[in-house]
C-alpha cells in the first residue's frame, strides 16, 4: 500500500518531457517533488503563473506571489505571469497538457466528483470544472476508499459532478488504473504488497483485469 508521497512519486512517472502541467491541491502538489532531472516540465498555477518553483525560503516570502492553493511560492527562470482570464484561456485552448487533481468519486466512464457534498460541505469548484472540461489528459490522485471504507471507484458517481467522461487514469494507494473510453477501470499496476483480490474488494465499478498485473516500479 502506498502513502501519499509514494502516490505522488508514481504519478510523477506519468509526466512527459516538455509538458505543461497543472497540479491540484493535496497529493497532486507533492508530484512536483519527484520529477526526474532529465524531464523538462513547466507547472501552471491557475491564479496566473507558468513556471512555478518550490516554496520560498523564509526571507523570500512574498504575499503577492502565491499558488492556487494560496501557498507562498517562487518563480523559476523563464516564468510568466498573467491574469485569470488568460490563465483559463490557455486551459480551454488546451495548451496545458496534463491536469493532476484529487477526487471524492470517479465513475467507470470517467466522470469525476470533487467539489461538493450536499448539505455538508460547501467549498466550491474553483478551477476544477474548467480544468476537467478541457485538459488533454487528466490523472486523478486519491485514496481508493473513503473514510467509511466505501469504494470511490464507482459505476456512477453519487455526488454532484465536476465533469463528465474526462478522467484518463487513476493512481491510488492500491493501484494504477486506466479509465477505458468504452467504460471500465482497467487495472494496470498493483501497489507493493497489494493483491488483485484486495483491489477487487475496494472497487465497486467495473474492474477489468487482463493477464498478470505487475507491481508498481519506482526507479
Amino acid at each position: 500500500m502506498l502513502d501519499k508521497e509514494a502516490i505522488a512519486k508514481r504519478i510523477a512517472k506519468e509526466i512527459q518531457h516538455n509538458s505543461y502541467v497543472n497540479l491540484g491541491i493535496g497529493i497532486p502538489t507533492l508530484v512536483a517533488n519527484y520529477i526526474p532531472k532529465n524531464i523538462a516540465v513547466c507547472f501552471q498555477s491557475e491564479n496566473g503563473l507558468l513556471g512555478m518553483g518550490p516554496f520560498p525560503k523564509e526571507a523570500d516570502v512574498d504575499a503577492d506571489l502565491i499558488n492556487a492553493g494560496k501557498q507562498t511560492i517562487t518563480m523559476l527562470p523563464g516564468a510568466a505571469l498573467f491574469d485569470s482570464a488568460m490563465s483559463f484561456g490557455m486551459i480551454h485552448a488546451q495548451k496545458i497538457d496534463l491536469t493532476i487533481l484529487g477526487a471524492m468519486e470517479v465513475s467507470e466512464n470517467g466522470d469525476i466528483a470533487n467539489w461538493k457534498i450536499p448539505g455538508k460541505m460547501v467549498k466550491g469548484m474553483g478551477g476544477a470544472m474548467d480544468l476537467v472540461a478541457s485538459a488533454k489528459n487528466i490523472i486523478v490522485a486519491m485514496q481508493h476508499v473513503n473514510k467509511n471504507g466505501e469504494s470511490k471507484l464507482l459505476t456512477n458517481c453519487t455526488l454532484p459532478l465536476t465533469g463528465i467522461r474526462c478522467v484518463k487514469k487513476i493512481v491510488t494507494e492500491l493501484a494504477v488504473l486506466a479509465v477505458l473510453p468504452e467504460g471500465g477501470f482497467k487495472l494496470l499496476e498493483r501497489a507493493p504488497g497489494v493483491s488483485v483480490e484486495d483491489i477487487k474488494k475496494a472497487t465497486l465499478g467495473k474492474l477489468i483485469i487482463e493477464g498478470e498485473i505487475p507491481e508498481m516500479a519506482f526507479d
Binding site: A85, G163, I164
Partner: protein, 232 residues
Amino acid sequence: MMINKQVKNAEAAIDDLNDGQTIMLGGFGLCGIPENCIAALVKKGVNNLTCISNNAGVDDFGIGLMLHQKQVKKMIASYVGENAEFERQLLSGELDVELIPQGTLAFRCMAAGYGMPAIYTPAGIGTEVAIGKEVRNFNGKDYLLETAFNADFAIVKAWKGDTAGNLIFKATSRNFNTVMAMAGKITIAEVEELVEPGQLDPNQIHVPGVYIHRIFQGSHYEKRIEQKTVSK
C-alpha cells in the same frame, strides 16, 4: 492635459456606492484584494450587496469582514472553503450563494470588459452548473452559454498606478483584478503607489486608464498570507 481620475481616499471613492448594488472585488484568496475599500465599505455599513469575487475572504479579513457585518445578500464566487462564517450563513439560508467555475467567473468579467454579451465555455457541461443554461455544440463538443456580468462597481487593487488610471500589477496579485477593472460600470482602483502621468512606462501597463474611473493611493496594506509555506 491628461484626464485625472484621482480621488482622496477609499471613503471618497465609494461615497455613492449604495445598498442593494452589485460590486466586483478583485483578488485571489487574500492576494491582491482591495483592503482599503473593503475597510471603507465595512465602515460605511452599506447593505444587501451582491458581491462578485473569486473567494469570500477568511473569517476576519477580506470579504469576511463584510460577511461578519451581514452586508452581503448574495455572493457569486468559485471557491469559498476558507471561511466558517460564510459556510454558516450559507447553510442557514441567510446568504444566497452562486458558485460558478473559476474560468467562467473570469470570462464573464472579460466579456463585460470587451463589450461582449456572452461567452461559450465547456466548464460545467454535464453538471448542476449547466441547469437551465443554453448548450450549443461546436465541432463536436458541448459548450454552455454564460452571460457577461453587469456590475455597478468594480473595486480592484494594483501595485502601481498613475492619476490617469493606468495600472500595473505585481506577481500573482494580477489574478481577477485586470478583468474586473475592465468590467465595472464604475471602476475604483486602489494602488500601493500612485504617480503622475509619464512616470509609468506605457509598455508595462496592464490595464489602460480608460477603464478606471477613480484611483487613490491606499495605505497600511496588511497583505495577509493565507498559507505561508517555506522550504528549508
